[in-house]
Structures are given as structure tokens and as C-alpha cells.
């Protein structure tokens, strides 16, 4: 594939791995071990899929932050979706959400019991369903970071313009920069550098990370998803750490601009507004969510159908929160691989395709 295959060359990977080794050695000479955190579910999966951790030196740890939007979604959200299904709505969703545990079962189970749950490859299908479907309400489960929020905001704008009937979204959008700030400020979280997401950055721009690097002195490097991109990103972070720097470096300049995608940002701002949001396992992070603006309330499923998304505490013993904060690796959770597996997940980190625990279970056991 053009613009993909060349970014997976094994000789180039070896070259970068050696540079990573050099930077790691410099840090080791100063007696330093460092902790890098990636904050994007797709990075989590790519790192696991390509076995990138095998190429890192002993004193470099790579952990996964809360970059999996499904993982940070509260059980109460799944409960609300199931309640909507019980009331006769057709629930349209990306596949990932179907196995996330609510407080009494997941959407896949609800479907086995007769709930109408449709997996969509693209959200436009959900709107088409609402146009076509005779009398049923369609609710799209709108979960994601800015990369997903932008297309969904555009779709909401389309739905509003055509006065779509019987269509709404149950939203749980989250934004990345406030989460990075919360992690940087959390004394329980020890992160030396952030590997920043590729396509969230395409929307928000490289400049969005300047406050993180500036205020907290944490290097932030934006990297693409291909293995060589990730390796270069890691190399850059290690070199910054060895040189005592804390800059924002855009290693994905072929897609990410300093200012981001201005048009997408405008669409986002027209349809959605920042709100406080609860991140499962982390707690409430002010201003870290996006909700549908009041003038479009008819398209907000919670408002339209009068369901509340209740907050739930995680299962006792579930350490998803610590995994999400990068405090422990998946294998550090006592339930990992035993009581909690992809087949019977306790928390979302195990069930989501992008979850740290699922990636670790699938690729690295």
C-alpha cells in the first residue's frame, strides 16, 4: 500500500532501534530510567501488534494512558444505551461498544435478548437508517476523542439541516489535552514524556500540546501509527529527555499541521461545547468532554429520550483506572488473564479492541 508499506521496513527499524539504544544508554549513564506514555488506542494496538517494546532498552518503559475512548466510558453509559434499546430504539454503534460491560450485561447480550443493536462501519449509516426506518428511533453511540467528534459533529450538522426525525446521538466525547494535564498534575502518575496521538493531533494541531510541554516540562512528540513512525517518535522523546529538553515535536508533519484542521475545529465548535466529563477509573476532569449544544438538544439522545447517564463505580478489584493512568501494566492487575479476559472482561480495558489489557492479552502473553 502506498504511503504505508515503506513505513514498515525492517532495516530502517533496526537503524532507529539502535539510535533508541544510544539515547537509552545516555540516560543510563546518568542513572536514569524513564517512563513514556502513549495516549492513543491505535498506538497501543500498533505497539503491541508490531512488538515494539522488544526493541526498547531496559531503562525505557512504555505504558498506555487513557487513550482508548471506549475504555474510559462509564458503565452507566452502557446501561443508558440498553435502556434506550428496551424502549424500542434501534441502537447503532461501532463494533467495539458491544462487549463493554454495563452494570448488568453488555449490548451483545441485550441483542441476544432481542434488543435491536446494529453495528455500523460509518455513522452515516445510522442516519440513513433513521431516514429509512418507518417508526423507530435510531440512537447512535457517539464515543471518541476529537478525531471521531469532528465527523460526528459534521453528521449532526447535516441531521440538523435536514431536520432529521428519529435520529439522535448518545454522546460521551472526550478531549485529549485536558487529560494530559490531569495526568501531568497527578502525583500518583509518573510520566516523563508523552507520545501524542496522530489523528487527534490532525484535528487539534501540534500547538495544542504547547501548554503541556511548557507548564509541566514534559516532552510531547506527535507520531503516526506506522511502526517506523512510532520508533522515530520514541527516539525523539528519549533524545529530548537525555538533552533535558521539553518541546513539542511534530513527527507526523505529513498529516498534522501546527494549527490543526481549522475547518474541523469550526464544525466541532458549532455543534459541540466543552463540558466536564467523568473518565472511568480517573474521575472527573474539568472541561474534558464535549456535549451537544442546547439548541440542538433534539439530537441529543439523553435529552430527547429522557435518560440519564448515571455514574458507576468500577467493579471491586478492577484496576482499569490504574492501567489507564499508567500506574501499572496490564499484567500488574491481579485479575489479568484470570478473572478478566477478553472473553469475560471485568473492565473496558480488556474488552475494547484498543484497550491496553486486550492488546497485551492478545499480543504479549
Amino acid at each position: 500500500m502506498r504511503y504505508v508499506d515503506g513505513y514498515r521496513d525492517s532495516d530502517a527499524a533496526r537503524h532507529i532501534a539502535r539510535r533508541i539504544g544510544d539515547a537509552g544508554a545516555r540516560l543510563a549513564r546518568d542513572g536514569r530510567s524513564v517512563r513514556l506514555m502513549e495516549v492513543c488506542g491505535t498506538h497501543t494496538m500498533a505497539i503491541a501488534r508490531h512488538g515494539i517494546r522488544d526493541l526498547l532498552p531496559e531503562n525505557v518503559a512504555l505504558c498506555s494512558g487513557p487513550g482508548c475512548p471506549v475504555c474510559v466510558t462509564d458503565a452507566g453509559y452502557v446501561d443508558a444505551a440498553i435502556e434506550l434499546a428496551r424502549r424500542g430504539c434501534v441502537i447503532a454503534s461501532f463494533g467495539d461498544m458491544l462487549r463493554v460491560p454495563g452494570s448488568e450485561g453488555n449490548l451483545a447480550a441485550a441483542r441476544a435478548e432481542g434488543a435491536r443493536v446494529v453495528v455500523c462501519y460509518s455513522p452515516a449509516e445510522a442516519l440513513a437508517l433513521a431516514r429509512a426506518e418507518g417508526a423507530s428511533e435510531v440512537v447512535f453511540l457517539a464515543i471518541g476523542f476529537e478525531t471521531t467528534a469532528a465527523p460526528l459533529a459534521a453528521l449532526l450538522a447535516t441531521a440538523a439541516a435536514e431536520r432529521a426525525a428519529r435520529f439522535s446521538m448518545l454522546t460521551a466525547f472526550k478531549t485529549v489535552p485536558p487529560a494530559l494535564a490531569a495526568l501531568a498534575e497527578d502525583p500518583e502518575v509518573a510520566v516523563d514524556a508523552f507520545l501524542c496521538p496522530a489523528h487527534v493531533s490532525a484535528i487539534i494541531g501540534a500547538g495544542a500540546y504547547a501548554p503541556i510541554a511548557g507548564r509541566y516540562g514534559i516532552p510531547c512528540t506527535i507520531a503516526g501509527f506506522e511502526p517506523l513512525d512510532i520508533l522515530l517518535g520514541i527516539q525523539d522523546l528519549l533524545e529530548q529527555l537525555a538533552d533535558g529538553e521539553a518541546r513539542v515535536v511534530n513527527q507526523y508533519a505529513r498529516v498534522v499541521k501546527e494549527e490543526g484542521n481549522r475547518k474541523a475545529q469550526r464544525v466541532l465548535a458549532e455543534v459541540l461545547e466543552p463540558v466536564d466529563a467523568a473518565w472511568r477509573g480517573i474521575g472527573v476532569i474539568p472541561g474534558s468532554g464535549l456535549a451537544i449544544r442546547e439548541r440542538l438538544a433534539e439530537l441529543d439522545a439523553a435529552h430527547r429520550h429522557g435518560v440519564a447517564v448515571a455514574r458507576h463505580d468500577p467493579e471491586p478489584g478492577c484496576l482499569c483506572g490504574d492501567v489507564l493512568k499508567g500506574k501499572i501494566l496490564p499484567a500488574g492487575c491481579p485479575m489479568f488473564g484470570g478473572a478478566c479476559t477478553p472473553d469475560h472482561p471485568v473492565g473496558p480495558c480488556m474488552v475494547s479492541g484498543e484497550g491496553s489489557c486486550a492488546a497485551s492479552y492478545r499480543y504479549a502473553r
Binding site: 500500500m1 504505508v4 530502517a12 478525531t147 469532528a150 498529516v255 474541523a264
Partner: protein, 82 residues
């Protein structure tokens, strides 16, 4: 999912909708999040929308960098910079 490989725009229709192609498979793509797009541009597609264009000069430069690294690694050049 943020999974998104660059695809080539092969058709631009009315109403901000286009068709992108990857290895022979064609995908309907909404172009409403881009200011401007031309036939032959490569775009990143997410959830059925093109969210950004690929800067091909940057992409090619990055590719050339990797090719150079690979050659250094195989001992085909004098090594040094890059």
C-alpha cells in the same frame, strides 16, 4: 477507531461527497471537513469522513529518510548523518 490509512480521492461529487480508493476498493467519503480537495489528493479517512489531506512532499521526504536509514543499516552507504 482512529485506524486510517491514506486513500486517493478518485471522484468528487456534488454536496461535498467523494470517492476514495485504496488498492482497488472504493469508499464513499464525506469531504465536508476539508477546505479544499482535488482529484489525486491522498486523504486520511475516519468514520466515513476525510479528516485531513496527506502532504505528499512530507510523506515522500519521510519515506526517503527511511530508505536512507535502511541502506545505512545494510552497509550500502558510508553511514553518517540522516
Amino acid at each position: 477507531m482512529c485506524v486510517a490509512v491514506p486513500m486517493e480521492i478518485v471522484e468528487i461529487g456534488a454536496g461535498g461527497v467523494g470517492v476514495a480508493e485504496l488498492e482497488g476498493t472504493r469508499y464513499d467519503v464525506d469531504l465536508g471537513l476539508l477546505e479544499r480537495v482535488d482529484l489525486g489528493d491522498y486523504v486520511i479517512v475516519h468514520a466515513g469522513y476525510a479528516i485531513e489531506k496527506l502532504d505528499r512532499a512530507e510523506a515522500d521526504e519521510r519515506l526517503a529518510l527511511f530508505v536512507e536509514m535502511a541502506r545505512i543499516e545494510r552497509g550500502e552507504t558510508d553511514g553518517g548523518g540522516a
